[in-house]
């Protein structure tokens, strides 16, 4: 039995949505960041699936680049998180709301 490409896509959509939901629910900044990583991974799955479908290498390379970008983002993001923690002494996103309206 072959797996329909659509299934991969649906799986990625599910993962992506869970990622979005996690972003909405999680209070810890680091976890929120993790959920973004989850979303990126979901997108990666789509890329790979399409790369397979089109027999195109470029799709896979895109994933490769996404990983690099994710790594870079992680470095910067975690640095920012540290900076926030330093000034606010909390990792709760709900308490990072000095600015509003």
């Amino acid at each position: 039995m072959f797996v329909p490409i659509a299934y991969y896509l649906v799986l990625s959509a599910i993962l992506f949505s869970i990622g979005v939901a996690a972003f909405l629910i999680k209070r810890n900044i680091i976890t929120v960041f993790l959920s973004i990583e989850l979303m990126l991974n979901a997108v990666n799955l789509t890329f790979v699936a399409f790369a397979h479908m089109w027999h195109q290498v470029s799709g896979q390379i895109f994933v490769f680049f996404v990983m690099v970008v994710a790594a870079a983002e992680a470095a910067v993001g975690l640095a920012i998180i540290i900076a926030v923690f330093r000034t606010r002494n909390t990792l709760n996103v709900d308490q990072v709301n000095l600015m509003k309206l």
């Binding site: 896509l9 992506f16 990622g19 979005v20 972003f23 900044i29 929120v32 960041f33 973004i36 979303m39 990126l40 979901a42 997108v43 789509t46 890329f47 699936a49 399409f50 790369a51 479908m53 089109w54 195109q56 470029s58 799709g59 390379i61 895109f62 680049f65 996404v66 970008v69 870079a72 983002e73 910067v76 993001g77 640095a79 920012i80 998180i81 900076a83 926030v84 330093r86 000034t87 606010r88 996103v93 990072v96 709301n97 000095l98 600015m99 509003k100 309206l101």
Partner: protein
Amino acid sequence: MLARILPEVILTLAGVLIMLVDPLLPRTASRKSIGWFSVLAMIAAFAASAWQLHLAPGTAYFGVVQTDAFSVFFHLLICGTALVALLAAIDSVRPETHDQGEFFALVLFGTVGMLLMTSAVELLLVFIGLEISSISTYILAGFRKRTGKSSEAAIKYFLLGSFATAFFLYGIALTFGATGTTRIAAIAAALPHTTTPILAWTAIALILIGLGFKVSAAPFHVWTPDVYEGAPSPVVALMSTAPKAAAFAVLLRIFYGAYPSIQQHWWSLFWILAAVSMTLGNLAALRQQSVKRMLAYSSIAHAGYLLVAFTAFSPQGVAAASFYALCYVAMNVGIFAVISHVGGYDDHLWSITDYRGLAYRSPVLSGAMAFFLLSLIGIPFTGGFFAKFYVFSAALQKGMFGLAIIGLINSGIAAFYYLRLLTALYSKPAEGSPVLAVPRMSLTLGFAILLAASATLLLGVVPRSSLDLAQRGASTFFSPTTPIQATTSSVAMQKGN
């Protein structure tokens, strides 16, 4: 080959050089010289971009980047903006803030990303460019590490930005799924024959979400006020302008370059985004007390005006959008340059009340500010007016009456809050309120403001040359020949219209 990415190379080299030199300087030494160096690099990049205009339009690096009138237009725009922002920052970024060296390096690198965004014709490179510019702005937004607001701005911007990037990426993935390629020209060629057009429709929506976030179009604008408020003003001067212009360039490239065949599907999305952005931005700005937040909302509204041009699927539309971007950055970078000086690096003057009577303390600064505000309102003989006029003219030529009416009523409403600030400038300071002194304006800042102001004025009075360039750029997308080989026919094109 290198000629096609010459500005980027110059800036990258300059950035690397700064990184190398900065640690060698004594910790306490002033980094002004580095600032001047980066200014020089930026001027060089500007000149290089201008020089690119003489190249025949074409691609390089296996069809990854393309230099044409369009890319050059945005190159010049971005370099110019960054130049003004740098000039404004040299004196506002105080010596006591460390990381000055990093600041300038980050600006240069970020500019590289933006430049790449505008010339890339491969979505991968667009993505990377976007990330470069975004990440550098995330960092810059959090540059006032000691204040809670700045790091909060950084984290908000960062998290939401990454969130939106994921959508953008998803959109690219689906595009890839629909067409099997990520080259813009190839997408355009493959799209009419795709078996799964629905993927493309979904893809454009997702890409629009991602980029809509970058240009702060409602309802993806939510980050804007908070980030503008929290980020240091010199940074806001940059990030409210150049990255946005770059994102608009990308929007134009992608939608006009890659998806012209499904234009019926996307123009209504732009219609909605434009209408919502204008209305929401302007209404929310009405009661703002904080100047920076007010301008943040105003920038949302301006994104809306700009998006109006997208609905007109015509060379005029593209030219109008490009031109609007140009005018918008000119006046916005100018006003933030003023604010970064008046408000101070730490934003101790932030509310409209604080600006009362500024005209009595520093007439030149407030005159400049008033001028930028007038341009933002859209008063004739300023760039803001001409841009707005051109955008709505393009939209109306396609019969977008509803949108034009919404837009222009909005510009009327917008006048209210700009005027609140404007009249505050020229009012007597409130009795009893402490009058905070505005430091003397340095020559550098004066020059920056002068640059922005004269650009804004010239764009309103003699917009012809920049308009020509924008129209040439626009014709890239509508040339009867393939987009990549767009040649001198562009000039003939605009005459036809």
